[in-house]
């Protein structure tokens, strides 16, 4: 399949790999890499070929509910077959999903977040989704880095600059733990504000990217808590101000229960995304643009 362009090819020959940099050492556990594991910067090309994927980045700190979010997503797709009009067709990373389900279950039983260093090497999950039972099939990529990665990004712009998946994301979902926010409002607001500024400085928001905020574990906060609602608005406004982008929507979810609120987020994540180029109105997203540039050069 020499004609197929992978992500690394598409991004140019000067950039050999897509890094998910971190100042902490990442330990790959070689004997735990199974068939169908999550993908990484080195093998994502095997999945993409020359098709244009929709890239969703789940950004958030340790314990903010990203793992539970993706676990419930695959659970819903495998047991009901669809979310809205998005039908499950395939995944190249079933083991990656199952690993996350395993970790979530350990956490739920021990009520204690465990170490997850071995996950950092494989953070890209894939889904092939079809519109209706007969419609067009699209490729969805979910970037599910560990929270430690974003802790490092918060303090180091260079690391953010090197993350090409983040640079070419179609959507970013910022995960905020409602309980953590309730207990450490100032710290969390400061952290997300600074992280968003790093993103902004690195040019993450320059393209046609949608930004969403997901408030997780909302079931653990009283609905009547007016202070919480007001304060949550302050953190979303802070992210909006730092990014210079409108937050398209703030979702309030309990990721353990796949109710209508959570399904609305999943439906958004599984949507196709055709963006408009700023100059000529052509409907292309970033990979298509780069492909065109490559063709122009040849």
């Amino acid at each position: 399949m020499e004609d197929n362009k992978g992500l690394n090819d598409i991004l140019g020959e000067n950039e050999q790999t897509l890094n998910t940099p971190t100042t902490k050492p990442i330990q790959a556990v070689e004997d735990l890499k199974f068939l169908g594991d999550a993908l990484n910067d080195k093998n994502i090309d095997d999945y993409i070929f020359d098709e244009i994927p929709v890239i969703n980045v789940l950004a958030g700190y340790v314990g903010n509910g990203k793992t539970t979010f993706v676990t419930t997503l695959i659970q819903e797709l495998m047991t009901t077959g669809c979310i809205g009009n998005s039908y499950f067709v395939d995944t190249d990373t079933m083991t990656g999903f199952e690993k996350r389900a395993y970790i979530r279950n350990v956490d739920l039983i021990t009520k204690n977040r465990s170490e997850r260093t071995s996950l950092l090497d494989n953070y890209l999950l894939t889904l092939d989704i079809r519109d209706g039972l007969e419609g067009y099939t699209r490729k969805i990529i979910i970037s599910d880095c560990s929270g430690e990665v974003y802790q490092n990004y918060q303090s180091d712009s260079e690391l953010v600059k090197k993350d090409l998946i983040l640079h070419h994301a179609s959507r970013i979902f910022f995960f905020i733990d409602a309980v953590e926010f309730y207990n450490n409002q100032l710290t969390l607001t400061n952290n997300y504000n600074q992280l968003t500024k790093r993103f902004k400085f690195a040019g993450i928001f320059d393209g046609n990217i949608d930004v969403y905020v997901i408030i997780t574990k909302i079931d653990q906060i009283s609905k009547e808590n007016e202070d919480f609602k007001k304060n949550i608005n302050s953190i979303t406004e802070s992210i909006q101000s730092a990014s210079g982008k409108n937050i398209d929507k703030t979702f309030y979810v309990n990721s353990l229960v796949c109710n209508d609120a959570l399904k609305e987020v999943y439906a958004k994540l599984l949507e196709s995304k055709i963006t408009s180029s700023s100059n000529n109105g052509e409907e292309l997203n970033w990979i298509a643009k780069i492909l065109n540039n490559e063709e122009d050069r040849t």
Binding site: V29, L32, L35, G36, G81, T95, E98, E115
Partner: protein
Amino acid sequence: MKKKCLIVGIPESGKSTYIASLWYSVKTYAKCSLTASDNMPDNTRYLDRLVEAWLSFEKLRTSDDITDQIEFNLKDKETGDEFTVMVPDFKGETFLQILKGASNSELQRWLGEVESVILMIKDLEFVKFNPIEENQESRTNSDGKKIDAIAGFSIDSMSGASKNLLLLKYLKANMDIKKLIICVTAWDQIDNMSSSKDFFKRSSVGLYQFIMNNFEEVEFYGLSAQGVDYPSEEANDEEKRIFKDNLISDTSKCKRSYVIEGTKKIFDVTLPLKKAIL
């Protein structure tokens, strides 16, 4: 004419039990759609061992990959055509090892030679909460450092639906599958009135959609090769005797092993094989 068919499945999905009931059926039951031709294969030692265990109501487990000793010389009852079918009996652990990233040269050779696959599936579920060992409550080691949770993960921790999806993806990537026959095994344990296809879809819709979108010719069967669940060790002698008498009677009258084709119960386990090779 020689035909080859690959029977695949994760451990305890019923591969060897099916081969045992198949060998007994083609030799014994004249009403089966495939019957043994008069020309017996030269070596049936392995098949005979399987049948002996099946007739003695012993649970069958394959300890080694048997890839060159299983030949059926068969006759199509409908057309009278005679042919030889070669069916390897790879142990379930071999397929599990494949999911763990291992390679198997013998399996790889077979993948290059066959075009039809019979997949045995017993566990269709995509579990919400995987079983976690109780001792994982202890999250620290002797140095007081946290233990990496993912280190406890293995392919065995995964759901049946996921293992089978991965197995099918592996086969699809390594061979040209013209026909895929899905057999939901231990059908006698399933309380179901709908067709085997509907049951499969209802039980594991994600896996069903994956199959229907990735394979062109697919057939679904319910299969009970063993016929009934064997009595537990705790059963008393009288219960065991009654069970044995009933099963001897059913086996003699061709009422033990059966398939579900559509919604119809048919005492002919050769149907999935016939569908696969003809």
